[in-house]
Amino acid sequence: MSESDPAAPADTGYDEWADSLAEGGYFIECANGHGSLPPRRVCPECGSTDLAEEALPETGEVETFSEIHVAPSGFGEDPPYVTAVVNFGTVRVTGIVRGLSADEVAIGTAVRPDVERNDATGNRLVVFRSA
């Protein structure tokens, strides 16, 4: 699926956010301090529509992770690979861990976000690198 594929679903909001991870990334914060990820018109926690983009902290901590041994067909990532949910304080982000084996990842491991391109699907791929 290339970027010019007319059948590809629109990902406005998500694609811009994923691309921003190369420069540290951002999240959406409501007037009451709740964090979420785009696209958002309303805070899913409190319903506030007073939303602003805030920079993500430079690093986050692995909150949970799994070494995936069976991948979906056409996903374009050869298993095993490590997927983690990383806590950045007000938001958590899910992605694939680069540069660390499953044995080297633990709950609490500090990582920074980045973005790659999934060659098989053409989609952005959120990744984490050792901080």
């Binding site: 909150e63 069976v70 899910t94």
Partner: protein, 388 residues
């Protein structure tokens, strides 16, 4: 508000039905349910049908009218889709339709055809239940999502793979006598521990199989049962549904399933039943850790106590609270869109006394069913009671 009785239940054997169509599977279950109920098909006023991945597996959307036709019904039908909780929702809405007085006779259940796909294709199809942008694209598979929850649970409450292996061994033991189960054979804790890793810390024997199958229930009002002399000793007295944020990353605590907690609270309140009155439960053990989290969400065990329940023997056949006497999704099988109906069919048989494992619970009067969608972004809980 009128009471709702389970007049009849029908199941196909769960397993691999190579070469059979979904419509044929559902017809088999529906006809069995009507026969069990002694209710003529022309009395059915509406079909509530659960299905998740039919558009992918059989290239067949718009399945409800097709299934009504296959079952020989003249009524309209509606398809319900809530991932693995599709049939649970279909049953819940049928209960609500009867209670409202709008309908007296409903057919509810579901069907899924899965084994015609490769494992990689099933993995891809099931992943559709997760958040496409923030989870699927980040490499989270269905087993991977439960693995993320399992590690979060171990971190918060303790427990290990051996505790989970006891859940698998228990459910396999329960399936041995169940003629509808996909795996009618025992496994040992050691076999479960030694099975290959799928998504650490979960291994192959922590996961339910890939399954074809269908379930159907005939639900009737108490008035209809009395007028037509229908023998229907089991009533659905409580129903509840809960929802949560779709992506795990957006949940405050990945070791808990608040959608199930909310669904259970609603169902208990609806039935006027307390959690300590429950005699047995059928819970959604798509992965062994899911049974653990279900036990705690349903208030059957305190937080952190569910992990050891099978190992201690609390939830085994001889325990105080037998869980998944059918074999559960783990050993009976998990045809995704049929599972919620299958759980209620099995619970009805267990309470009526005509299930091969009814002898484990001879005096039981209150049963609980718990059906979850995805990583429990949706959950449906029902209370079943022996009414007469």
């Amino acid at each position: 508000m009128t009471g709702v009785r389970v007049a009849g239940v029908g199941l196909t054997p769960f397993g691999e039905h190579a070469g059979r169509t979904g419509r044929d599977l559902f017809a088999e279950a529906a006809l069995a349910a009507l026969d069990d109920a002694g209710v003529p098909g022309e009395d059915v006023e509406h079909l509530n049908y659960g299905n998740f991945m039919g558009a992918l597996a059989e290239r067949q959307g718009h399945q409800a009218p097709l299934m009504a036709e296959a079952a020989g019904l003249r009524c309209a039908g509606t398809r319900y889709e809530e991932a693995c909780a599709s049939a649970g929702v279909a049953v819940r809405e049928a209960v609500r339709a009867v209670r409202s007085g709008e309908n007296d006779v409903m057919l509810a259940g579901g069907m899924e055809r899965m084994t015609n796909l490769s494992t990689a294709e099933v993995t891809e199809s099931l992943a559709v239940a997760a958040d496409e942008l923030f989870e699927v694209r980040a490499g989270v598979t269905f087993p991977g999502a439960y693995a993320l929850m399992a590690r979060a649970y171990f971190d918060e409450y303790g427990g290990d793979r051996e505790d989970l292996a006891h859940v698998a061994a228990k459910n396999h033991a329960n399936a041995v006598n169940n003629e509808y189960a996909q795996y009618q054979r025992e496994i040992t804790v050691e076999q479960a521990l030694d099975s290959p890793a799928v998504a650490s810390p979960l291994h192959l024997f922590d996961a339910c199989p890939i399954t074809d199958g269908a379930s159907a229930l005939v639900l009737v009002s108490e008035e209809y049962a009395a007028e037509h002399d229908i023998e229907a000793p089991v009533a659905i007295t409580g129903t509840g549904q809960g929802g949560d944020r779709a992506a795990l990353q957006d949940r405050a605590d990945m070791a808990r399933t608040p959608a199930a907690t909310d669904a259970a609270a609603e169902a208990y309140g609806d039935a006027g039943v307390a959690s300590d009155e429950v005699d047995l439960a059928e819970v959604h053990d798509c992965f062994t850790i899911a049974e653990v989290m279900a036990l705690e969400a349903l208030d059957l065990f305190d937080s952190g106590e569910g992990i050891g329940a099978a190992r201690r023997g609390d939830t085994t056949r001889d325990g105080d609270l037998p869980v998944n006497l059918s074999g559960g999704l783990k050993a009976k099988g998990h045809p995704v869109g049929a599972t919620g109906g299958s759980q209620i069919a099995e619970m009805t048989r267990l309470l009526r006394g005509d299930h091969p494992n009814s002898d484990a619970v001879p005096d039981a009067t209150v049963g609980l069913t718990h059906n979850a969608g995805g990583t429990v972004a949706s959950a449906v809980v029902h209370v079943l009671e022996v009414a007469e």
